[in-house]
Amino acid sequence: MLVVACIKQVPDTTQVQIDPVTNTLVREGIPFIVNPYDTHAVEAALRLKDEFGFRVAAISMGPPNAEATLRRALAWGVDQAILLSDRAFGGADTLATSRVLAAAIERLSAEEEVGVVICGKQTIDGDTAQVGPGIATRLDLEQLTLVDRVEAFDQKGRTIRVRRKLEGRHEIVEAPLPVLLTVVRELNRPRYPSVPMRLASQEAEVQVWDNKVLKLNVEEIGLKGSPTWVSRIFSPERDKGEIVGDGVNDPEGAADLLIQKMLEKDLLTV
C-alpha cells in the first residue's frame, strides 16, 4: 500500500512583509520552509510506514525550487518524492491545485494502491484549508479533517479510526480506506533528520512531473482554471491597544483582570 503525503513549500510568513505600494508580498530574500502543518502530515505517513511497512510518497506542486522541500521529506525518510511543476500549473487557486494533486495521486495509484492521503490542515500562506478536502472530492475519498490522533488503523478490515480536534470538543470517527486525512499540529512531533539521511536525500531522485505527464486540460489548471484570484493583499489596520489594570501597584488585580478577559474571549476554561 502507498501512503501519499501532500506538502507545500511556503515562505516563512513570520518574515514576510507586504509592499505598501503594490500591496503584494515581498518575497525577496525570504526563506522558504516546509509548511509546518505538512511536516506533521509527513510524520503521520512515516509512522504508518514504520508500523505497517507501507511505502510513502511525498508530492508537492510548486516552482522548480520547491525541490528543497521534497529533499527535506526524503531526509525524513519518504521513499519517493515527486515535484509537480509546470508553468501551466502557476497561479492556481485551491480548486486548480487540488486538480493537479489529485491527478498525480491517481497516476500513482495506477502502479500501487493508494490507501491513505495525508495533508496538513492548511498552509500558513493561504490559510484556506481547502486543498485537502478538494483532493478528497476530486478522488472520491473519505475525508477526515483536523485529525489530532490516529486511534486505530486496521489493515485487514481496511478501516481507520481517528480523533478530530474541533472547537471545544473532540470527535472520534471511523472510515473505510481509501481515505484522506488533514492533520493538525497536535497529532505528532515530527522526527529530526539524521545526517546520513540528509546526505542520502541530497543524492536521491526527485521526480518532476509536468503537464506532459499529467495531461490535464489547461483550461482547468493554473490561473486559467482558477475561479478565485487575489485582488489585493494588505495588513489590516489594528486598533491601538490600551493598557488596562495597574500591574505595577496592583499585580493581583491585574492578574485577575487578565484571567477575566481571557475567560470572556474563551481562551481559558474553568
Partner: protein, 664 residues
C-alpha cells in the same frame, strides 16, 4: 647474598614478562582508536609534561596533593634504588657501590630520607582513606576498587619497611661501616634490630625477600589496575591538548563517514589513552556542576566507562565484529546513559582540575554528536531549538527582521569596512532576549561615551551556533559557521566586540577552523582597556549598586582565561573590588546554562543555578555582576526562586553605564 640469585632471577623474569604482556594487551587496545595528531610541537609538549607530570602543578592545587607530590618524587628517586635492587638480585656484581664513594654515599643519604618521607606520606594516605575520606573519592563503581587502593598503599609501605629492615640489619652486622653515617633512618632500625645478634643475616635475608616479592607483585599488578597511571600519566601530560580552549574538531559531511562516536573505537587513540591514565582521584567529579546537583553525569565515570567498554569489547573489535556492550544507552559499568551525556554544561571544570590533563568534555560532545547526527535522538525540547536555528538562525525562532529592534530610537550605524572600526556582534540574546536587550543598549551607550567607532550587521547578523556545537549538532553548526565566515569575509570584518562569552568563544576560537582569524574582544576586556586609556569618564552612579559580587562565566573565564578585566572594571566603576565567591576564577561554578543546557529542561536533581545562587548569597551582595546573557537569566531566575528578588543582577556593561552618570 648471592644465594637468592637462582631463585630470584626466574621470578623477576616472569614478573617482567607478565608486566610487558599485560601492558602490551592494554596499550594495543589504545591502537583501536582513531588517528589524532598529538605529536606536534614537541617543545611545548615537553614543557606541559614537566609542568603537570613532574612539577605536579595540578596535583598540588589541593592541599592533600602535596602528599602525592612526596610519593611521586620518592618514587622517581627510589626508582634508581629499586632498579639497582632488581639488577643486583640477578647480577650481584652490579651495584651502585661501584660508583665513586662520595656519589654512592650521597645516593644512600637520599634513598634513606626519601624512603622515610614516602613511608610517612603513605601512612597519611592510608589514614585519609580510612578516617577522613572525602566524598569525591568514591563513585558508583569505584567503591569496589577501594581494596586496590589499600593494597597499593600497603605495597609501598612494605617496600619502605623492608628497605629499612634490610639496610638496618646489614648495618647492625657491621657491613659497609663507611656508609652508616649517611643512613640515619637505617641506623635507627639497626639499633632496633641489634638484639637479633647472630640471627641478623637471616633477618636481612627475610627483609630482602619481602622487598623482592612485594616489588615483583607490584610490577605484576601495575598494568592491570588504576595504578597504571604510574606508567601512562606522564605521557598523557605530554600528549595533552595544546588547544586553548579545548574546542571540538570539525567533521566531514560526506556519505560513508560516521558522525560522532557511538562505538568505542570511534574515539581517538588519545581518548582511549585517557582512560588508562585516570587514577580515579575524583577531582573532576567534585568540580562537575551536574554531579554536584544530583544529575546522572559524573565525568570520571564517562572516562571509566569508555575504558571498561573498550576492554569488554576488545575481542569483538579485534575480530571486526559489532561490540556486544553498547557505549551509549545500556546500564552498567562500561556504558554511558543518555541522561548523563545530556547533563553536561560543557563548563570545562572537569578538565581544569584533572591533574593528568584528561579531556572529559570533548568525549561527551562526541557522543552527543552520535546521538543527534546519526540517531537523531535527543531530549524533545531541543527539536524546536534545532528547527529555529536552521530556519531563523536564532534559538527562539524570532523573525531575523527583528534583530535591530533592541536599539529602539537610538541611532545605530551599520558596519562598513574601512569606515567603522569595530563590528558589534550583538548575538541572539543581545538582539531578542528582553532582559539582555538592556545590556546591549548599556554597552552601546558606553561605546558611544568612549567615542568608539562601531557598527552592527543588523538583519544580516546570524547566530554564531555555539549551542549547536556543544549539543553535538555539528551538521547545522558547520552550515552556520560557513555562512558566518562568508558574511564576515564579504563585509571585511576584522575587529569584533561581543557581549556574550559564547559568541566570543565561537567567533574567536571555533571559527579559526573555518579560516577566520578575527580579533574578538569581550566587552569587559574592551571596557577595561578604555578605562585604562582614560577614554571613559566615570562618575559615581554605580556606587548605588552597593556590594557587588562577581560571577565568572565559564566561557569567559575557564575557556578564554579572562578573569582580571571584569574585576578591574567593577572596581573602577564601584570604587571597590567585587566580592569573591567561594569558587571563583578557574574554579568558578557554572550557572547551569552552558553546553546548550539553556534550552533544556532540568528534570533531574537540584537546579544548578540554585546551588550557585546559594553560594552567592553567602556573600550577601546587593548586586550580582554577570558578564554573560545565560548567567543573567540563570541568576535572575535563581534569585527569584530563592525569594531574593531584591538582589539585583547587572551585566558589567550596565554597571559601567550606571557609572557614567553622577549619583542621584
Amino acid at each position: 647474598m648471592t644465594s637468592h640469585t637462582t631463585l630470584f632471577a626466574p621470578l623477576l623474569i616472569a614478573s617482567v614478562a607478565f608486566f610487558c604482556f599485560s601492558l602490551y594487551r592494554r596499550l594495543a587496545l589504545v591502537r583501536l582508536g582513531q588517528p589524532e595528531d598529538r605529536f606536534d610541537h614537541p617543545g611545548r609538549r615537553l614543557q606541559e609534561m614537566l609542568r603537570y607530570a613532574f612539577a605536579q602543578l595540578r596535583v598540588v592545587q589541593r592541599p592533600f596533593g602535596l602528599n602525592h607530590f612526596v610519593i611521586f618524587w620518592s618514587f622517581m628517586i627510589l626508582a634508581l634504588a629499586n632498579a639497582e635492587f632488581l639488577v643486583n638480585g640477578v647480577i650481584p656484581q652490579a651495584s651502585l657501590a661501584a660508583l665513586p664513594e662520595g656519589v654512592h654515599h650521597l645516593l644512600l643519604l637520599a634513598f634513606d630520607f626519601v624512603s622515610i618521607f614516602a613511608l610517612v606520606a603513605v601512612c597519611f594516605s592510608l589514614a585519609r582513606r580510612l578516617f577522613f575520606k572525602p566524598d569525591y573519592l568514591d563513585s558508583r563503581y569505584v567503591k569496589a576498587r577501594s581494596l586496590e587502593g589499600f593494597l597499593i598503599l600497603l605495597f609501598i609501605a612494605l617496600l619502605m619497611v623492608a628497605y629499612f629492615g634490610m639496610h638496618g640489619a646489614l648495618l647492625a652486622m657491621g657491613e659497609d661501616p663507611g656508609a652508616a653515617p649517611f643512613m640515619p633512618v637505617s641506623r635507627f632500625t639497626a639499633s632496633l634490630l641489634a638484639p637479633f645478634g647472630n640471627q641478623l643475616p637471616g633477618v636481612a635475608e627475610l627483609f630482602w625477600w619481602i622487598h623482592a616479592l612485594v616489588l615483583c607483585a607490584f610490577i605484576c599488578l601495575l598494568p592491570r589496575s588504576k595504578h597504571m597511571h604510574i606508567i601512562t600519566a606522564i605521557p598523557n601530560c605530554y600528549f595533552g591538548s595544546l588547544e586553548q580552549p579545548n574546542t571540538q574538531p570539525r567533521e566531514r559531511f560526506e556519505k560513508g563517514e560516521t558522525f560522532g562516536v557511538g562505538q568505542v573505537d570511534g574515539f581517538t587513540w588519545k581518548d582511549l589513552f585517557d582512560g588508562f591514565s585516570c587514577t580515579e582521584c575524583g577531582r573532576c567529579q567534585d568540580a562537575c556542576p551536574a554531579n554536584n546537583t544530583g544529575k546522572p553525569l559524573n565525568p570520571r565515570q564517562i572516562v571509566h566507562a569508555i575504558k571498561m567498554n573498550l576492554m569488554e569489547n576488545a575481542d569483538d573489535l579485534a575480530a571486526g565484529k559489532k561490540p556486544h556492550l553498547p557505549l551509549i544507552g545500556a546500564e552498567g559499568e562500561g556504558t554511558n546513559t543518555e541522561d548523563a551525556i545530556w547533563s553536561c554544561t560543557t563548563c570545562g571544570a572537569c578538565m581544569e582540575v584533572c591533574p593528568v590533563l584528561i579531556e572529559q568534555m570533548p568525549k561527551i560532545v562526541k557522543m552527543r554528536r552520535h546521538l543527534v547526527e546519526t540517531e537523531a535522538r535527543f531530549p524533545e525540547e531541543l527539536l524546536n531549538l534545532f528547527e529555529n536555528m536552521e530556519q531563523r538562525s536564532n534559538p527562539w525562532g524570532i523573525a531575523p527582521s527583528e534583530r535591530t529592534k533592541w536599539h529602539g530610537p537610538m541611532d545605530v550605524q551599520r558596519f562598513e569596512a574601512g569606515q567603522t572600526e569595530y563590528l558589534l556582534y550583538v548575538g541572539c540574546a543581545g538582539s531578542f532576549d528582553s532582559r539582555t536587550k538592556h545590556v546591549t543598549v548599556a554597552l552601546a551607550t558606553v561605546l558611544n561615551a568612549a567615542g568608539i567607532s562601531w557598527g552592527i550587521l543588523g538583519k544580516d547578523e546570524k547566530c554564531c551556533g555555539d549551542s549547536l556545537r556543544r549539543l553535538g549538532n555539528e551538521y547545522l553548526f558547520d552550515k552556520m559557521a560557513k555562512e558566518n565566515a562568508a558574511l564576515f569575509t564579504e563585509r571585511g570584518v576584522k575587529k569584533v566586540i561581543v557581549l556574550c562569552p559564547h559568541c566570543l568563544n565561537t567567533l574567536k576560537n571555533d571559527y579559526r577552523q573555518y579560516g577566520l582569524d578575527l580579533e574578538v574582544v569581550h566587552h569587559s576586556e574592551l571596557i577595561e582597556s578604555l578605562l585604562e586609556a582614560g577614554r571613559i569618564k566615570l562618575h559615581d552612579g554605580a556606587k548605588e549598586l552597593g556590594k557587588v559580587a562577581y560571577h565568572d562565566p565559564c566561557y569567559l573565564g575557564r575557556h578564554n582565561k579572562v578573569y582580571d578585566a571584569p574585576r578591574a572594571v567593577v572596581a573602577a566603576a564601584t570604587g571597590k573590588a567585587p566580592a569573591e565567591m567561594e569558587r571563583n576564577r578557574d574554579n568558578s561554578f557554572c550557572c547551569g546554562a552552558g553546553g546548550g543546557r539553556m534550552w533544556m529542561e532540568e528534570h533531574q536533581g537540584d537546579r544548578v543555578n540554585h546551588h550557585r545562587v546559594d553560594e552567592t548569597l553567602k556573600q550577601s551582595p546587593d548586586t550580582v555582576c554577570v558578564a554573560c546573557p545565560y548567567c543573567m537569566t540563570m541568576f535572575e531566575d535563581g534569585l527569584k526562586d530563592r525569594g531574593k528578588p531584591e538582589v539585583r543582577v547587572r551585566d558589567i556593561a550596565e554597571i559601567v553605564a550606571e557609572g557614567l552618570r553622577p549619583k542621584a
